[in-house]
């Protein structure tokens, strides 16, 4: 059997990556967000931002382990989806939590480590999203690779943000942090081996 063409697979991945957003939109439309709709939106968008960040970070290890080199062609799209969900998540903070009180947001970022971590995770994704185009990749050359290591910072900050959000550190935040630990562990091992 012939493998399906690349464009089809990529289109399929794109569609699947949109499912969480579509589902959330549907839940808003049908008024099915539960007793605390703001929290549902916030947890869901934040959760998917972190999941896509981890999926993006899993691409290189998967490529190395499986030898499936073309998987790298999905990395940019998955990374941009992580940024997309992070934008939605950040928007819930600005609108639902702070209701555009920018002064308070600045104070939050400055004095609350939990918010600072989330903010760092988001802000470090911005240059990565901006420089994800072919033009920027060409322009930056070798420096592009270095710049895009910022995703490690973003991932660590996001995992910490989730841990600091909960009152008791068990369950989900721990699993995500562990998954991130494994994914970053690959990089550390590769780095040590290549020396």
């Amino acid at each position: 059997m012939k493998a399906p063409p690349y464009a089809v697979l990529k289109g399929l991945t794109f569609t699947i990556a949109l499912v969480p957003a579509a589902r959330l939109a549907y839940r808003i439309y049908t008024n099915d967000l539960g007793v605390n709709p703001a929290e549902t939106l916030q947890l869901d968008t934040g959760g998917w931002a972190l999941k896509f960040l981890l999926i993006t970070l899993a691409i290189s290890p998967l490529r190395r382990l499986s030898g499936w080199n073309r998987i790298i062609q999905y990395r940019r799209m998955l990374g941009l989806f992580a940024f997309f969900y992070a934008c939605l998540h950040f928007l819930t903070y600005i609108v639902l939590d702070k209701y555009f009180a920018f002064g308070e947001m600045v104070a939050d970022v400055a004095k609350r480590p939990f918010i600072t971590a989330g903010f760092v995770a988001f802000v470090t994704m911005i240059p990565l999203a901006v420089t994800s185009t072919k033009g920027w990749i060409r322009r930056l050359g070798r420096r592009w690779q270095t710049l895009h290591r910022l995703i490690y910072v973003s991932g660590v900050a996001a995992a910490i943000h989730f841990i600091w959000k909960v009152k008791v550190v068990i369950g989900e935040p721990v699993y995500y942090a562990a998954a991130l630990g494994v994914l970053l562990g690959f990089r550390i091992v590769w780095h040590l081996r290549s020396r």
Binding site: A38, E39, L96
Partner: protein, 328 residues
């Protein structure tokens, strides 16, 4: 608010006659106390279930029973009430899990009958009470209270219960008693959250004796005219409306009078974030988030200004001269 509550109750004057005389329904209260004293030997019973009591077996074996004869709107507010579904479907009760819908989802098999509450410690009349015997002698009241969670969301809830001070007076705490400690049921077989290490079990909460004696402090047994749902702390829970929600211990099996400040669950878990007092205070932030505004559910926006003592300013005198920033 429809009734005026006593303004000042210094902690050492609680059982004194002048304070007693100031109460609204002195005759009823005195009658109730006399009745309680008369039946005290009868209600001091063993914790064994009596044979006549119907035995609950499954999740839906005991539907919520209607409560009759309660005094409507003994304390009320003109704010919009949250619905029964909101109140019973979204709350924290870590005995059933850390998620907000876990209490409703996993509390179905909690057996709340028979139920015994041990009242002991530094008091003259310690006893093990069947729930009915603890509550029946006291007039049930509907108390419509705001509930402010430490997580910055809030609701308005029509509880039904009895003033805790009635129960305390019956036990006659001794002069040494300065605090009251409340213990939640420990039964991991019916409370799945207790099989995790999220908190040290059983859940323990505490109040200073004068806080416990304040007329606003109640032991709730009902909600919206019916007995409590297990998710909300059936069959009996504390409600202290001027403190963050976690202070109001649920499914209480023991009320103990002690000399020293009790070691409470959240304070033990994270002392820097959850103090013993935990009064609602917009000026003292949680280390990780602001307490200035709350989200009045089901609103999308966290823009409802939080009030000092959750709007129950009559409790302010309990804390006269105290630095509430240090005693958070």
């Amino acid at each position: 608010m429809l009734i005026k509550t006593a303004r000042v109750i210094p902690s050492r004057e609680i059982t004194d006659e002048p304070v007693y005389l100031r109460r609204r329904e002195f005759m009823r209260v005195a009658g109730g106390a006399a009745f309680a004293a008369a039946v005290a030997p009868l209600v001091a019973c063993a914790s064994e279930p009596s044979a006549a009591e119907p035995q609950a077996t499954g999740p839906f074996a005991k539907p919520q029973l209607p409560l009759a004869g309660y005094k409507e709107k003994a304390v009320a507010t003109d704010e919009t009430l949250n619905t029964f579904d909101q109140i019973t479907g979204y709350n924290n009760f870590y005995e059933f899990g850390t998620g907000k819908s876990d209490p409703k989802r996993y509390s179905g098999s909690l057996k709340t009958s028979p139920w015994t509450v041990k009242v002991d410690g530094l008091c003259n009349k310690p006893a093990d009470y069947h729930l009915d015997d603890l509550i029946k002698p006291i007039q049930l009241e509907e108390r419509i209270y705001r509930l402010r969670c430490v997580e910055a969301w809030s609701m308005v809830i029509p509880w039904i219960g009895v003033p805790l001070n009635e129960v305390i007076k019956r036990a006659e705490p001794t002069a040494k008693a300065a605090f009251v400690e409340f213990t939640t049921l420990l039964r991991p077989s019916e409370m799945p959250g207790q099989n995790t290490g999220s908190l040290d079990w059983p859940y323990v909460e505490g109040l200073r004796l004068d806080e416990a004696m304040h007329p606003l402090t109640i032991l709730a047994v009902g909600l919206y005219g019916k007995t409590l749902m297990p998710a909300n702390g059936a069959p009996i829970r504390l409600v202290v409306p001027w403190k963050y929600g976690f202070k109001s211990a649920k499914s209480i099996v023991r009320i103990r009078f002690v000399e020293k400040q009790p070691k409470t669950a959240w304070n033990l878990a994270t002392p820097s974030e959850y103090g013993f007092y935990s009064n609602v205070n917009p000026e003292v932030d949680h280390p990780r988030w602001s307490q200035k505004y709350e989200r009045r559910l089901p609103s999308f926006f966290q823009n409802h200004p939080t009030q000092m003592f959750n709007g129950y300013s009559e409790v302010a005198s309990l804390y006269a001269g105290m630095d509430l920033r240090r005693n958070y």
